[in-house]
Symmetry: C2
Subunit: 145 residues, 2 copies
Amino acid sequence: MPVKNPSLKSAASSTVEDYLERILELINSKGYARVVDIASALKISQASVTNMIQRLDTEGLLNYEKYRGLVLTTAGEKLARSIAHRHQLLTDFLKLFGIDDDVIYHDVEGMEHHISPPTLRAIEALTAQLRRRPALLAKLKLAGT
Amino acid sequence: MPVKNPSLKSAASSTVEDYLERILELINSKGYARVVDIASALKISQASVTNMIQRLDTEGLLNYEKYRGLVLTTAGEKLARSIAHRHQLLTDFLKLFGIDDDVIYHDVEGMEHHISPPTLRAIEALTAQLRRRPALLAKLKLAGT
DNA sequence: TAAATAAGTTAGTTTTAACTAACTTTTGCA
DNA sequence: TGCAAAAGTTAGTTAAAACTAACTTATTTA
């Protein structure tokens, strides 16, 4: 395995899911998501966003009119919502252990796009069960410190 | 009464209500309402829209960020919805008489901003009653031709 | 592990929206 | 009915968003 140069940020490339997640977030919070907004939310350049947006438009996940604005299509919104939902489930799960919010955010960002539906369902069920066993949870929290 | 020059369109000035009505319509249909969209929807100049939008922003009916977009505030959306609702009630009422859609549209546009709540409620109740009396309605339709 | 592919960057340009200023037209009311 | 206030217009300007091109950095996979 090649050793990475630690002076370079590993800056994992944004996926389609990252874009959709942020776009939905922007629309919910500000009411609109312009290329410039997406770029600053993802901390990447406008040029990069332009490319991806045009791709998402041709893929039918959103409708884009340059210089005007964009809207998620039904398909795009559905997908975006499921991504946001998954994000929430994972966050809720980690919250059970009393982990710091910042750490939770970091971890969820890192793993969310790699989790399969079965695993996610397992985690969801597990979260529900753990919530009913406060004593067990307390023991787990102690173990984590 | 001064005789108007018939070669000039009478072009009644748009009211705050006209603006809100169109903005809501644009947001519902296109997902966003830019100054340029509003201007062409109301068939007035951008300059004029800029002025009004800035005013509506200071009045708290919408939040505007130039070059970005605008969103209705809770108050603005509430007002816009009630305007749209009134428009619909009046349209429904005139539809009872089998009047042409174009004519209905023209008339509703002309009168909607001048109708008081009591009158509107009366018309709403009347519409409901007439719908239960098809025979009477048929008679009224004939009288209108 | 080295191509091939995908994503990102910077720099410079283009396009468009939106603004302002100066002036005209409407409208409503004293 | 005429004047003040409100709304609209045009023309020209400014500013921001978004685009393109050329190139670099990551990532994936044969």
